[in-house]
């Protein structure tokens, strides 16, 4: 049985990889066509020229900067399958760099996502990679602390609640987790800011200093708490359900009848099997956290990925927005894959087929 799995695993991964690439292609095409809708291009042109640009000026800016080239060529050059064309200076007729602040080449070159070039941010006037990498690092720290707070507390709540189904502890902890799933970030953020920043003054209502001066409890506790609360309830509910199911299993009763203590049974026998289901849920929680990241970063003025995404979307910064969507889609797809593989690995009854 085990010997065959090697080849099966390879085909499984290749298939998954193919679907993932196809998904990314489809989604980037959708995003690409949406950001290139006429009203969006006009918005970009107005923000790049001046507020009182005439229709003729807008149109000529768009033509000069290659935004009126055929869709396929432009998408191809973003991907790196079609040469990226420089602009033509209208007075001299020479080829000039398209975005000077990004050192765009003056000769047609293949330079797209495949070559590792994510293009140029028109809003921040720098290369997309230079903007996105620090932003992702900042968000990485936020995610890390959110996970570090959310997962242990959710698991503890779920296990304590599911240990004795129907007990008073179960009912009160269930109410806690239901309440937390009913509290989106923009609600809990308000409550926490009011309580901890305005009334008690214990915590900082803004995480803006975390980027420049480093992360401290004072500036980071509020965003982390706010994000952790919303996701926590859901994981706790799943853990509870899984725990309840495990606790009714025959082997738990056997262990109890052998004379093992209640808590020894839970730690030695119940936990491992009860944690399989929450693992997949935690992994699938990442895409959800992306939305949370955007809300929390805006609310607490933290310059991370979510903040960048909102800036990119608000200014129709095409390359930056495409890079943001690519990053988020990759996060979603990779966590789905980890969740599937991890589930198969943790659960002895299911093998990858």
């Amino acid at each position: 049985m085990r010997s065959n799995n090697g080849a099966d695993m390879v085909t499984f991964f290749l298939k998954r990889l193919g679907v993932m690439v196809l998904t990314m292609l489809c989604l980037t095409i959708v995003v690409f066509s949406l950001v290139n809708l006429d009203p969006n291009l006009r918005k970009l042109s107005i923000s790049q020229t001046n507020m009182r640009a005439t229709d003729v000026e807008i149109e000529s800016w768009l033509v000069n900067n290659g935004y009126r080239d055929p869709f396929i060529e432009r998408y191809g050059s973003w991907l790196g399958l079609w040469p990226r064309q420089p602009n033509i200076d209208q007075k001299t007729g020479e080829a000039v760099s398209r975005f000077k602040y990004c050192d765009d080449p003056t000769a047609p070159t293949f330079s797209g996502v495949i070559q590792g070039d994510f293009g140029c941010s028109t809003k921040f006037k720098k290369k997309v990679a230079d903007k996105l990498v620090p932003a992702l690092q900042s968000t990485g720290w936020l995610m890390f602390w959110v996970m570090a707070v959310m997962i242990p507390s959710a698991l503890v709540i779920g296990i304590l609640a599911g240990m004795r189904e129907g007990s008073r502890m179960d009912r009160s902890l269930s109410i806690v987790s239901i309440t937390s799933t009913a509290t989106p970030e923009y609600v809990s953020g308000i409550f926490f800011t009011v309580i901890f920043a305005s009334w008690l003054g214990w915590l900082n209502g803004s995480a803006a200093t975390a980027t420049s001066k480093g992360i401290t409890f004072y500036n980071f506790a509020l965003p982390v708490m706010t994000m952790a609360i919303y996701g926590m309830g859901y994981i706790a509910r799943m853990t509870r359900a899984s725990m309840v199911e495990v606790m009714t299993a025959q082997y738990i009763r056997t262990a109890r009848l052998k004379g093992m203590g209640f808590y020894a049974v839970i730690i030695k026998h119940a936990l491992r099997n009860a944690l399989i289901a929450p693992f997949t849920v935690i992994m699938l929680q990442f895409p959800w956290l992306l939305t949370g990241v955007v809300i929390v970063e805006i609310m607490f003025r933290y310059q991370g990925f979510g903040f960048t995404l909102v800036q990119a979307a608000g200014n129709n910064d095409i390359d930056l927005l495409l890079a943001c969507s690519l990053v988020s889609v990759i996060v979603v797809l990779v966590t789905q894959l980890i969740s599937d593989v991890g589930y198969a690995y943790l659960n002895p009854r299911i093998r990858v087929k």
């Binding site: 809708l37 009913a182 989106p184 923009y186 953020g189 409550f191 305005s198 809300i295 979307a313 988020s328």
Partner: protein, 383 residues
């Protein structure tokens, strides 16, 4: 400026909400009186969690219905002296109090929260119903036929699910997009699903009884076509049904983001149910696939679907709030809770009340729905 005391604020708010309390009392009395004849709904009243859930949800439904009677002020009226006033400030003109204070544009927060419930309680359930229709109509064949149908539909659903919701909204609910035909095309597609669904539903069951069938089809097509014309083309001949382009845009985006999740649930349920004996029996009888899907499988999947619908209305409410919080779609002066939270949170360090009350309202409504769903799940599992 005169202020009411905290005690007076609470009692006045309580009195102001009298139509809601009256309706709640009638509802609870009727529910207890006829508890045994009310099926699943009646059994909700067996558990404390169920009663609390019903009460909270009903509270908001009645508040939305009686908003005109409850709210002392117009949600958009700006009374300059009341700008940023604390809760309980008495408006000099009418002598009525701003129970929850005034916001930064000097509007009554209490009236705005009350009127905001109308917007939330119309869009969230309606969008959820449409998402259910789309998800069911596509999930049934995907789960039942399997194979290529399933592969293609599942791929499309996963495509939408791989899209972070917030990015989707930023792309689909920008002001620019209402200038393009995209929202109308999507609305045209999504709103077709309920009509097709009901036509198929009646046709598969009554195709041999033409005298019943044609009445049902006529009602479906006339009613559906009427709503369809009003919503998609804004061309309701009677002028009753119309929707603001921004709201249509939000509606479509929410349905688009929600239906793949419904699709996945329905597909899973169908794959489970189709292995049962009564499905094999129906197949042996020679029933058509769509008859089996709509009249054998769907009724047996209703328990989990009702629970999911309940949770999903709550989730849609949160989504709507997110949209409002990012200033997407809704008009900036709209009293819906999300927009109010956004407006209020800008001055949060100075004035707490303009954001706090809509936030509490949104949370309590979603909490009510979650409690309701939880107790529905418990009760339906007892079967």
């Amino acid at each position: 400026m005169e202020y009411l005391s905290t005690f007076d604020i609470i009692t006045t708010t309580f009195i102001q909400l009298w139509p809601t309390w009256l309706a709640l009392i009638i509802l609870v009395a009727a529910s207890f009186a006829f508890q045994n004849q009310l099926g699943l709904y009646g059994r909700l009243f067996d558990s404390g969690v169920g009663i609390v859930g019903v009460l909270i949800v009903a509270f908001w439904i009645f508040t939305a219905i009686f908003a005109d009677i409850i709210a002392p002020f117009d949600p958009l009226d700006q009374i300059v002296v009341m700008k940023n006033k604390l809760p309980g400030a008495i408006e000099p003109g009418s002598g009525e109090a701003f129970l929850f204070g005034g916001d930064k544009l000097a509007r009554d927060v209490f009236s705005r929260v009350v009127y905001g419930s109308q917007i939330v309680l119309i869009i969230a359930p309606a969008a959820t119903i449409f998402a259910l229709m789309v998800g069911i109509s596509l999930g049934l064949p995907a789960g039942y036929y399997g194979g290529k149908t399933d592969t293609i539909l599942s791929f499309l659903a996963n495509l939408v699910l791989a899209f972070p919701v917030i990015l989707l909204f930023y792309l689909l609910v920008t002001p620019g997009i209402t200038e393009t035909p995209i929202p109308y095309a999507m609305a045209g597609l999504f709103f077709l699903f309920p009509i097709v669904f009901f036509v198929t539903l009646f046709y598969t069951r009554y195709k041999k009884r033409v005298e019943v069938l044609w009445i049902q089809l006529a009602i479906t097509l006339v009613l559906g076509g009427w709503i369809y014309a009003g919503l998609v083309f804004n061309a309701d001949p009677l002028g009753i049904i119309s929707i603001d382009p921004n709201e249509l845009n939000i509606f479509v985006a929410v349905v688009f983001a929600t239906s793949p999740a419904v699709f996945r649930i329905v597909r899973g349920l169908v794959m489970d149910i189709k292995t049962r004996d009564y499905i094999a029996a129906a197949q042996t009888r020679g029933e058509t696939p769509w008859y089996i899907m709509l009249w054998e499988i769907l009724p047996n999947a209703r328990g989990p679907l009702i629970v999911d619908a309940c949770l999903r209305i709550g989730y849609t409410t949160i989504l709507l709030g997110t949209l409002g919080y990012f200033g997407l779609g809704m008009a900036p002066e709209s009293p819906d809770w999300g927009t109010a939270i956004k407006e209020g949170s800008r001055l949060l360090r100075l004035y707490v009340h303009p954001a706090l009350f809509p936030a509490a309202a949104l949370m309590s409504f979603v909490l009510g729905l979650n409690l309701l769903a939880d107790s529905l799940r418990e009760e339906s599992m007892k079967d």
